[in-house]
Subunit: 330 residues, 2 copies
DNA sequence: TTGAAAGCGCTAACAG
DNA sequence: CTGTTAGCGCTTTCAA
């Protein structure tokens, strides 16, 4: 293999094949008329030289790029990888590549990411939620590209939005617990100022309780990001301070932590304490007692977001709903 | 906001500021000498126009890109998001962006991804494992860029490798069980032809048992990718066929599934059945009985891979080791 | 059906 | 310290 480290260019291919550059470009892109013999000749040279087209140059010369920028809050919460798993195949099939950034639930960081991703002139951009800094919103609008906001439908979107109503999910959780007869209800969650959507669920939950004449009996907000560990600790702290018969967790990670605490502490679930989570993660669904939770269509949200991005669908909000899964914990 | 959808270019900024293009470029890149007054003038115009530099053009004009391509087998297994979480900050700090592709544990797909990522002329490429198709290897070598293979040190690397020995991890698991006095040992895992590293762990495990004069008493290989559900089913099937006192799982997802099965079926752990996993996931560490498992330094592997990529370190294998965590299940 | 030539927006010498 | 001038590798008219 005596390849030089300087990559082979289209010009090299053209020279070697004895044709013009535009002809090589035509066969490579399957666009425009090329005779069968010329095409064969070019393809042979491409294979022989191991030529890999330079997409950077291609993108600059043509109008749009085949890059889609995706900005998500976290990778530790499996919810986001799940969404990426939905996005991936749709984009691949259409010949797009995704550039991913992680904002760590920080809107200033999200803004910085928007700026740096826009510098790659992506064909479109996906980001989580409907709330962004003013500067991010301005840049997004000015960019003129398609924007899809995912995982939330409670509010006004920039362009396209695909998700479900977090307020409604919180409300449904409250209705379920109330319907089951629970009255001393507590909450364990993370920092709302960072996870806005968890805050919306909480809002819907508390409001629905209030409509039923019930006040939240206690709550524990953990400073750290949602995790099994903080759910476990959070429930322990909450129970030390308050008498409860049911607890709503901001998500399934926290809820499973709570479930583990109950199991370790010998608290009978749901007889002495009912637990309800959010997301419908595998770990919750296959636990010895399936967790009562709300299944959110994450893969579908990702796939639909990608599909819409590539379409010329009019701006609008697409609500994909959610499903309350009655398990054995509430 | 009367921005046109045609983006503002560096030329626009230069004209508006009344300076040359290279001067604008200099202040933007903080490179080369520029007087304070000129810099201020240019920065004002940049802000006023909301100019976002076009990295595509920048990359084409300069030598290298600031993209790093990352190809991982999956996003469903939290191991890979964990690695990305380690990679992210290091790359960000250095001003690099990552383009991510998911191979779905399919080497042909990995090969295709290598080709399409190379088309973006990344500065470097990260991929999992030491085994790749011949074509992928050839492309990688010919590209002349830095390559980091992660998560495995059992073999020969292309350039840089960062990970741990899967064979040794399997061997350590076997030694632990044997030392504890278990003799009727089974295995539950996924498809080795796809997950090569799980196969290496299995190899180390079985070989170490053999050295102790023990044959694997039974095994269950699941066709589907590793998951809590398949671990749960796998253990159920295995126990239906064989009398065992300990089971080794290819990873913690599977092991937690097994743990859930045992709990649901009323099997005393570890008295009647010992369980051991691999990876040290949160779900395993915070279960009511902490799972005995091997903690793998995933974040550190990601961070170190990124650090090496940006360095001019000589080719070589970096073994970051692992740690057997004695829990309450074996 | 094919080739020549003019950029895409930026960086990088090279003068001044 | 600053401006001019070539390209980077490809796509895309426009002629032939």
């Amino acid at each position: 293999m005596n390849e030089r480290s300087t990559a082979i260019t289209l010009t090299d291919v053209a020279r070697e094949a004895g044709v013009g550059e535009s002809t090589v470009s035509r066969v490579l892109r399957n666009h425009g008329a090329v005779s069968a013999s010329t095409r064969a000749k070019v393809e042979a040279v491409v294979a022989k030289l191991g030529y890999v087209p330079n997409r950077i140059a291609g993108t600059l010369a043509s109008t749009g790029s085949r890059l889609v920028a995706i900005i998500i809050p976290s990778l530790s919460n499996i919810v986001f990888p799940d969404i990426l798993t939905g996005v991936g195949p749709v984009l691949d099939t259409a010949g797009y590549q995704s550039v991913i950034g992680v904002s760590d639930y920080d809107s200033a960081r999200e803004e910085a990411l928007v700026a740096s991703m826009l510098a790659w002139r992506p064909a479109a951009l996906i980001l989580a939620g409907l709330e962004h800094t003013a500067a991010a919103t301005t840049m997004l609008r000015a960019s003129g590209i398609r924007v899809v906001e995912i995982l939330d439908t409670d509010g006004v979107g920039l362009d396209l939005a695909v998700g479900y109503s977090n307020r409604d999910a919180g409300a449904a959780s409250a209705r379920f617990l109330v319907g089951r007869g629970y009255r001393n209800i507590g909450y364990v969650g993370g920092d709302f100022s960072r996870d806005v959507r968890a805050g919306k669920r909480y809002g819907g939950f508390v409001e629905t309780l209030r409509e039923a004449g019930i006040a939240l009996a206690g709550q524990q907000l953990m400073p750290h990001p949602s995790s099994i560990e903080s759910g476990k600790q959070g429930l322990a702290s909450l129970l030390a301070a308050t008498e409860l018969d049911a607890v709503y967790f901001s998500n399934d990670d926290m809820a499973i932590g709570g479930y583990f605490h109950a199991a370790a502490a010998g608290i009978a679930v749901p007889e002495r304490l009912a637990l309800i989570g959010h997301n419908g993660l595998d770990v919750a669904r296959f636990a010895p007692q399936a967790l009562t939770t709300i299944l959110t269509p994450r893969r579908r949200i990702g796939a639909e977001a990608a599909r819409l991005l590539l379409s010329d669908a009019p701006p609008g909000i697409h609500d994909l709903g959610f499903e309350l899964m009655e398990g054995a914990t509430a």
